[in-house]
Every structure is written in structure tokens, then in C-alpha cells.
């Protein structure tokens, strides 16, 4: 039954002490910290973690598209210094050439490998047949639905008969239904032995998807990106989402990823410029957070299983975990063993009026080190105004470059909501509101 696990063999690809470090002036940002990972032959491994944990970067390092700052990549025991010719990638955004037909898109990979024209055509047609795209050979990608485009992506990847098939969030740009059917079809192709590829590495931020498909889940966390757990999913295929055993595994992964709420001083972290880690503002719309708290307030004992909430609200696990993180930071909820419980403050918030909510939110935000620092900077500034550039420069010492903008935008969004801080978009200036002084 569990054919994939049975045929598991020698190590195929190995990451050894991989780190990815960006430097910005004198400050170093560790994007990936000392990751070790082995993908064995015949295995279906999934890398799962919140966005920003570096899982897609790991995939690019493993396939040789990107060199790591530190550490080694081994393939069949040999050091990998270039793009791995035995690997193929299926991309999140499909990465099809819009000006080539479906068939040409598959053939181009073969042409680059000098497969003669006749063989190229027959191989491409055969693969398109197998993924269910016969009849669409002469169509252009723009004429196809998302799910069908991704099928072309799969056909192209399989055409070169890779030993290692890498999937970079292949279903996350698709609608729910086509994602589900494509998952099923991929599993079927893989298990029936209809494709020569035996080894698959999938990057995903969707916990259910990982438990549904993979043999093993490598669970990552962010800040810095690192592996926090290795979980064998010992479930037989075909897996049923409603099975108790399936749900237990999902619950466990949620438990690992959501972690456990720490005492407040640890959760909140240090002030900018101080020693210790500065907690950024989670990238969360306040309305979504309020919606989650309201949902919890209606549950018995104000408590819920994270995986059930995700199912119930139709939330992506990644999005839910970010919301949970925000709720923890603001002291509205606590998390333990994959369960979330509303705090009394969270309950008050969920039941309060619009204006009262703003006040509660503001009082919590004022305790948040990053915001405390922002408010005190503004209080000391001339006319209580600061240019965006000034704050940006200060934050560039604390956050990686591509995160600074997001932090600023969330700071503006939350500041406007709580009426602590406002922002003039024409002049790019932050200024203090009376409530913030």
C-alpha cells in the first residue's frame, strides 16, 4: 500500500549547515539559520512554514539556482555548484512562456536538452495526454484556466524526467476546487508509477495540503528561518480529510507552528536599538483580527482548535497563523498545543462597540515596544512630525530590507485605526495624534 515509503532509498539531495545571510551596512540579517535537510530517493517531502521563513529560498538553494551564504549542497553525495540538471521546478506562478503554445512550452525544455524534433513532439504529446490536456496542444497559456496552466507546468517538469521534482507552492495561485483536483491527480500520477520521477520536494504554507500529500513534513519557523521539527506522516494513501488520524496530524502541525504563548515580556521582545529581538508588527488587517476574536467568543469556553477554525472560517493556514500571532502579541488570546483561547481582554474586545475597540486596541498597542519607540520618537520630534525616510532609516537597522516597507505600512494602518499616529501621504510624514501624546 505505502509504496512510496517502501521504496525509500539512499539520500538524493542534502543540505548541510545552510545559512542565508544578508548584510545591510554593519547589520546582518539571518534569513536562514543552519538548516540541515536530507531528501531521500522515493520520498515525498514537504517544507512547511509561515511566509518569510525562507522555504522557497531553500528550494532554490537545493536546486542550485541560488548559492547559499554558508553551507553545502550535496546531490548524490557530490557537491552541487551549479543548477542541478536532474531537478525540475513547478512554479507558483506557472512561469510559462506566454508566446509559446502549450505543446511548445513543454517542448522547449526538451529542445534545450537536444532531444531530436520527432521524439520531442511525441514525448510532449504523451505527457500532455497523461495530465489530461489532450486537445489543448495548440492553445496559448492565456486561453487556459489557472488549473490547466499549472498542468502544463507539471507536464513541462515531467518531460525532462527529473530525478527530483520540486514544487514551489504549486497550488496556492489556484482556486480551491482546481487546486484540490490537481492535488489528487498529481498523487495519482506519482503513486501509479506512471511517471519516472520518484522523489518530490514540495514547498507549501498550507498545512492540510502537506498532511494530505507528503510522507514527511519539515516544519520551519521564521525570524530566523530554521527547521523546528521533522514529522513523519505515517498515513496510508488515499488519505481522507475527515479521518480522525488525519485531523490529529493536522492538529499536531498546527501545534508545532503556532507554538506556545510566552510570558508578555518575551512575546513583546526588545525596543529598537536595545539588545534582543525586536518584534515586528504582524501584517494583518484589523478587521480580520476582529473577525477571528468574534468567532472565538462564540465558541464554548472561548476556546477552539486551530485546525477546526481554519476549516470553519475557510482560512488558509498561513493566514490564520499570522492572525493568531497578532492576537497573542496584543494579549487578546493565548495558544497552547494547537488550541487558542480568548483572554478576558480579548473577550471584552470582541463584545465592545466600535469606539471602545479602538481604545482597547490603542492601550495594547502602546505597550508594544516597536510602537512605544515610534511614539517616543514622534513626541521628541519637532512639531511631533517625522519624515518617513527618518523612521525608515532607523528601521533598516532592525529589519531586513524587504520587510521595512511592510512594517511602516502596518504601523500607519494600525496608527490610523487607533488614532495614535497619523500619516500624510502627500509629504510622506508621520505625525502624532492627540491620543498618542
Amino acid at each position: 500500500m505505502d509504496q512510496a515509503a517502501a521504496s525509500k532509498g539512499a539520500p538524493l539531495a542534502q543540505l548541510s549547515h545552510i545559512s542565508q545571510i544578508y548584510t545591510n551596512g554593519r547589520k546582518r540579517f539571518v534569513a536562514i539559520q543552519d538548516v540541515n535537510l536530507t531528501v531521500s530517493e522515493g520520498e515525498f517531502v514537504a517544507l512547511v512554514g509561515p511566509s518569510g521563513c525562507g522555504k522557497s529560498t531553500l528550494l532554490r538553494i537545493l536546486t542550485g539556482l541560488q548559492p547559499p551564504t554558508e553551507g553545502q549542497v550535496l546531490y548524490r553525495g557530490d557537491l552541487l555548484n551549479d543548477v542541478n540538471p536532474h531537478a525540475a521546478i513547478v512554479f507558483q506562478t506557472f512561469a510559462l512562456f506566454p508566446w509559446l503554445t502549450v505543446q511548445e512550452n513543454v517542448e522547449v525544455a526538451l529542445k534545450a536538452r537536444e532531444v531530436p524534433a520527432k521524439m520531442r513532439t511525441s514525448r510532449a504529446l504523451d505527457l500532455l495526454d497523461r495530465v489530461g490536456l489532450d486537445g489543448f496542444e495548440t492553445a496559448y497559456p492565456r486561453e487556459l484556466s489557472g488549473g490547466m496552466r499549472q498542468k502544463v507546468g507539471f507536464a513541462r517538469a515531467m518531460a525532462i524526467e527529473p530525478e527530483l521534482l520540486c514544487l514551489d507552492e504549486p497550488f496556492s495561485a489556484l482556486d480551491v476546487l482546481s487546486a484540490e483536483s490537481l492535488r489528487g491527480e498529481l498523487l495519482e500520477l506519482w503513486q501509479s508509477g506512471n511517471i519516472p520521477t520518484r522523489t518530490i520536494l514540495m514547498v507549501s504554507h498550507n498545512i492540510e495540503e502537506v498532511v494530505l500529500m507528503a510522507d514527511r513534513a519539515v516544519i520551519m519557523d521564521k525570524e530566523p528561518g530554521r527547521v523546528i521539527a521533522n514529522l513523519n506522516i505515517g498515513l496510508a494513501h488515499p488519505r481522507q480529510r475527515k479521518d480522525q488520524a488525519f485531523l490529529e496530524v493536522v492538529d499536531r502541525v498546527y501545534g508545532l507552528l503556532a507554538g506556545q504563548t510566552q510570558p508578555e515580556h518575551i512575546e513583546l521582545g526588545a525596543m529598537p536599538g536595545e539588545l534582543g529581538r525586536l518584534r515586528g508588527l504582524p501584517d494583518v488587517p484589523i478587521n480580520d483580527l476582529a473577525g477571528l476574536l468574534e468567532h472565538l467568543a462564540e465558541e464554548p469556553n472561548n476556546r477552539g482548535d486551530l485546525y477546526r477554525i481554519a476549516e470553519h472560517l475557510g482560512l488558509d493556514s498561513d493566514h490564520l497563523l499570522t492572525l493568531v500571532e497578532a492576537a497573542e502579541l496584543l494579549g487578546f488570546a493565548t495558544v497552547a498545543q494547537g488550541d487558542i483561547t480568548l483572554t478576558p481582554l480579548g473577550e471584552t474586545f470582541a463584545e465592545a462597540s466600535i469606539l471602545a475597540r479602538k481604545e482597547i486596541f490603542a492601550s495594547r498597542l502602546k505597550r508594544f515596544p516597536f510602537y512605544k519607540w515610534l511614539l517616543s520618537m514622534l513626541r521628541e520630534a519637532d512639531q511631533h512630525r517625522l519624515r518617513r525616510g527618518v523612521i525608515q532609516t532607523a528601521l533598516e537597522r532592525e529589519f531586513p530590507p524587504d520587510e521595512v516597507d511592510q512594517q511602516l505600512n502596518t504601523a500607519i494602518d494600525w496608527g490610523r485605526y487607533t488614532e495614535l499616529v497619523s500619516y500624510d501621504d502627500d509629504d510622506d510624514v508621520f505625525y502624532l495624534e492627540p491620543a498618542g501624546g
Partner: protein
């Protein structure tokens, strides 16, 4: 710099019977210059896009190069060429290089821009599927850039026609060069005041341009439709071309494609793939080729030091009086540029909005506007001069007219595009709110047009400065007419072989244009991007 004795080019005949031959000569020169521009753009743009260290030098340099007026290249090019080639060949090549300088820069920018905006995942897909440099060029880079390259090629050709007269007849010091061609035909006809010949020349030129448009550019545009990137069908009207449809449906062409083109392409792909294997990943350290870069940089800086030394020598040799002339000329030309921009704005905004918001009107006017716009204003210039030459300040009026003719189209086309892009919902809202005519313009139309007006005005402004060179100094009916202006100074310095003056006036013109762009236009552009862009 010593200059040899007077050299006369071949006599230019004004008989209409030579026009076909002359047109062929001019077309040949344009084509040669265009091929040269294309090769230059591909190489230069690629270097700048893929090599961050080269980019830091190449892009600012390109920015400067594109603001050097065409005539200022002439002495450098010609003196360089005559020292290694016989006179005739040197003149011919100089002419091609001059046309090149009016075609190459925007093409290079377009190619560079395309290369740097290719989506990351498409690049990664090309790498993981092991596409070699040739396959990458053919299946990724060229298709991705195709639309922008074709549009910019059309602009380059328009630029080339505009300066054709200047590129086929030029005087440097005591040497007078004339190359048989449409440009020189028009120049000689104007110089002799021969109205019939001018009409013949303009007619031929228009015929040539319309034929190129119908037989080359329209089909190319229709063909590049397939390279549109957006995955969903947009609602823009696709470009169509009768000639392209005809070619596509022709049997013979189909046969040729299947029997000759495809197998040939296949063989070419194979051999090029073998010759250029996929690039290896750049190492994290960069040791290899470093010495090459250092050597190139060393030569570059040595050249720069020598150049700067000569430059300072020349600057010091210029009398104070001429420095004053340069300042005065800049002010006078600035005034003309402003006036022509204002006139252009005054008529293009209402007309552009009318065309852009009214599809029926657009159907009638669009083709007329396109043909009118494609006629190089320099060809019409002599005819217009005849009208105003008697009036006081006649050349002033004519110069503004030429600048206007050369630049208003950029504005008009941008405004039409902007007006057509105003969302229907907003127009309905304006109607429902019962906004008066002025309120409607103030709250909806003008803000929506703002980014388009700025984009058009930047191009138009740059074009107007460049046009000043042919607008402020004219040889006409056997006389040389000139007015105060930086363009006149440059032309006059070239003609007299006054190289220090040429250098100073060119440099100050470049400096002025770059400063205006940096201090004025770039800010407005930033404002337009952040506040008035519809998403």
C-alpha cells in the same frame, strides 16, 4: 585642427526623375543606421542589464549621450573617419553614424528596460530547464521585449527622418559634404528656393514613409500582438494590418515556412545551443574576468583623464564674449521651447480628450493624425520659411513652428491614450453628480490626464531642445538665416569649425536639459506616479 582644402560632394540634381534613386539611397542609409542601432542596443543594453558594475557606468553615460544634439557628434565622427578612410567613404559612413545617433538611444533604453523587468520566475524556469544563451534570447528575452522594441524602432525611424537633411548635407569648417539622397534633395531645393522641387521631395518622402508604415511597421505591430504578456485577454483593441493578414494567408509563404524556415531554424538552434552551453551560475565570490574588467576600467579612466585635460584646455581657450553668447542663447532657446510647449498643450489637450473619449471621432481622425505626425517637420520647414521670411522675427516664428511640429505629436498621442483610459465608472459618477463642465475637467479629466501629460511633455521638451539645432540656423535661398539661440550657436560653430565654442555650447545644452529633467520633470513625474496614477 587643420582642415584640408574645400571638398565638394557630388552635385545634387533637382530633376524629379532622380527621386526614386535618391529615395533608395536615403532608405539604404536609414536601414544601415538602424541595423547598427539595433546591434548597439542589444549589446549595450545587455551589458548594462546583466552586469551591475557596468550598469553604474553605462546607464548614466547613455543618459548623457541621448541629450547630445546630433550635430555635435559630427566633427568628432568626421575627423575620426577622414583620418582612416577616403573622403567619399568617410562622408557616407559619417552620415550613417549621424543617423545612428538619432536612433540608437531610445532603442537601447527599451531593450535594457525589458531585460530588467523579465519576471523572476520566468528567468528561473529558463535556468532550471537549461536554456542556453541563444535559447534564452530567442524564447525569453526577445519575445518579452518585442512590443517595446518595435514601438521604439518606429520612434527611431521617425527621429532618423527628422534629421535626414542634416545628416546628408553638412558643412564642417571649409568642407562641404553632400550625399545624394532625399534629405540633400530637399536641402538643395530649399537653398535654391525651388518650390516645385520642394513639393516633389516632400511628396516622395511622405509616400516612402506611408509605404514603410503600411508594409513594415503595421504588420510588425500586428505580429507582436502575440507577445503581449498579460495572461488574460485585455480590452485594448489589438493592432491589425491588411498586409500582415495577406502574408499569413499566402500559400507560398506557408510552404516556405514549412520547407525552408523551420528546418533552417532547427539547425541553427542546434548549432548555436552546442556552441553556447547554458551559463554556469555566478560564484558568490567574483574572481574570474576581474582582470579584464580592471583593464577595461583602467583604459576607460585613462581616456577620461586625457579627455578632461583636453576639455579644460578648450574651455579655457574660449573668449569671455562667447561664454556670454552661450548664456544668452540658452535663455532664448528656453523661451522658444516653453512657447512651443504651451502652444502644443493648448491645442492637444482639448483635441486629445475629444479623440480619446469619442470612438467615432477617433475612427475618423486617428489615421489622419498618424500620417500627419509621421511627416518629418524638417521637410516642411523650408516651405513654411518661404511664408514667414519677410515678416519681422520671421525666423523666430519659424523656429517655434518647427519645434512645435516636431514635438506636439508626443503630447497628442499621450493625451489620447490618457483620455481613453479614464474609467467609465468615474465618467458616470461625474455625470450623476451633475458636475458642470469646468468642475468635470478640474476633478476628473485633468487629474486623470496628468501622468500622461507629464510623460508626453518630457519627451516633447527634449525633442524641442534638439530641434533647435535645425530650427535656429538655416541655409535658405542662398542665404544663411540665423537667430539668437543655443541651437544656432552649435550649428554655426560646426559650420565654422569653431570647436571650443561647439564644445561649450553642446555641454551647456546637455547640462541645461539634464538639470531641467532632474529638477523639474522628475519631481512632477514622481507626483504623477504616486498621486494621479489610476490602478
Amino acid at each position: 585642427m587643420r582642415v584640408p582644402a574645400v571638398v565638394r560632394g557630388p552635385a545634387i540634381s533637382l530633376s524629379p526623375s532622380v527621386l526614386a534613386l535618391y529615395a533608395a539611397f536615403s532608405l539604404g542609409r536609414m536601414l544601415a543606421a538602424y541595423v547598427l542601432s539595433l546591434i548597439f542596443a542589444l549589446v549595450y543594453g545587455r551589458l548594462a542589464a546583466y552586469n551591475p558594475r557596468a550598469e553604474q557606468v553605462l546607464m548614466p553615460l547613455l543618459d548623457v549621450l541621448q541629450s547630445v544634439p546630433i550635430l555635435s557628434f559630427l566633427p568628432v565622427v568626421l575627423l575620426g573617419l577622414t583620418s582612416i578612410l577616403p573622403q567619399g567613404a568617410a562622408a557616407e559612413i559619417a552620415s550613417i553614424v549621424l543617423i545612428f545617433t538619432s536612433q540608437a538611444w531610445n532603442l537601447t533604453f527599451a531593450w535594457y528596460q525589458s531585460l530588467t523587468t523579465i519576471p523572476k520566475e520566468l528567468r528561473e524556469a529558463s535556468a532550471i530547464y537549461r536554456l542556453g544563451p541563444w535559447m534564452r534570447f530567442k524564447t525569453l528575452e526577445l519575445p518579452f521585449a518585442a512590443i517595446s522594441v518595435v514601438w521604439n524602432s518606429m520612434m527611431s525611424w521617425a527621429g532618423g527622418w527628422f534629421f535626414l537633411m542634416a545628416a546628408e548635407t553638412f558643412t564642417v569648417g571649409q568642407r562641404d559634404f553632400r550625399l545624394p539622397g532625399l534629405g540633400s534633395y530637399l536641402a538643395v531645393a530649399a537653398n535654391q528656393g525651388n518650390l516645385t522641387a520642394i513639393a516633389w521631395g516632400i511628396g516622395t518622402l511622405i509616400l516612402l514613409i506611408v509605404a514603410l508604415d503600411q508594409l513594415v511597421w503595421r504588420p510588425l505591430l500586428a505580429w507582436t500582438e502575440r507577445f503581449k504578456l498579460e495572461m488574460v485577454g485585455g480590452d485594448e483593441r489589438p493592432s491589425t494590418s491588411w498586409f500582415y493578414e495577406m502574408i499569413r494567408e499566402a500559400r507560398l509563404v506557408g510552404l516556405f515556412t514549412d520547407r525552408v524556415w523551420r528546418p533552417l531554424g532547427e539547425a541553427l538552434d542546434r548549432s548555436l545551443n552546442r556552441r553556447f552551453p547554458p551559463l554556469t551560475r555566478p560564484r558568490s565570490g567574483r574572481q574570474s574576468r576581474n582582470w579584464l574588467f580592471t583593464a577595461a576600467a583602467g583604459i576607460f579612466w585613462l581616456g577620461m583623464i586625457y579627455g578632461v585635460d583636453r576639455l579644460i584646455g578648450m574651455l579655457l581657450s574660449l573668449p569671455l564674449f562667447e561664454w556670454g553668447q552661450v548664456g544668452l542663447g540658452l535663455l532664448a532657446t528656453l523661451a522658444r521651447v516653453l512657447i512651443s510647449l504651451l502652444i502644443a498643450l493648448a491645442w492637444t489637450i482639448p483635441v486629445g480628450v475629444a479623440i480619446g473619449t469619442n470612438p467615432r471621432l477617433a475612427g475618423i481622425l486617428q489615421p489622419i493624425v498618424q500620417i500627419t505626425a509621421s511627416v518629418p517637420a524638417t521637410a516642411l520647414f523650408p516651405a513654411f520659411l518661404l511664408l514667414v521670411v519677410g515678416v519681422t522675427g520671421g525666423l523666430n516664428i519659424a523656429a517655434v513652428f518647427l519645434m512645435l511640429m516636431g514635438t506636439q505629436w508626443y503630447l497628442l498621442f499621450n493625451i489620447i491614450a490618457g483620455a481613453a483610459a479614464i474609467p467609465q465608472d468615474l465618467k458616470y459618477t461625474a455625470t450623476m453628480l451633475q458636475l458642470g463642465r469646468w468642475e468635470r475637467w478640474r476633478t476628473l479629466i485633468l487629474p486623470a490626464l496628468f501622468p500622461y501629460i507629464i510623460t508626453g511633455a518630457i519627451t516633447a521638451g527634449g525633442g524641442a531642445w534638439n530641434a533647435s539645432i535645425v530650427a535656429e540656423y538655416v541655409q535658405f535661398s542662398g542665404k544663411t538665416l540665423q537667430t539668437t539661440g543655443i541651437g544656432a550657436l552649435i550649428s554655426q560653430a560646426t559650420a565654422r569649425g569653431n570647436y571650443p565654442l561647439l564644445l561649450v555650447s553642446t555641454l551647456s545644452l546637455i547640462l541645461t536639459v539634464v538639470l531641467i529633467n532632474r529638477l523639474f520633470w522628475r519631481r512632477l513625474y514622481g507626483l504623477a506616479e504616486s498621486r494621479y496614477r489610476m490602478e
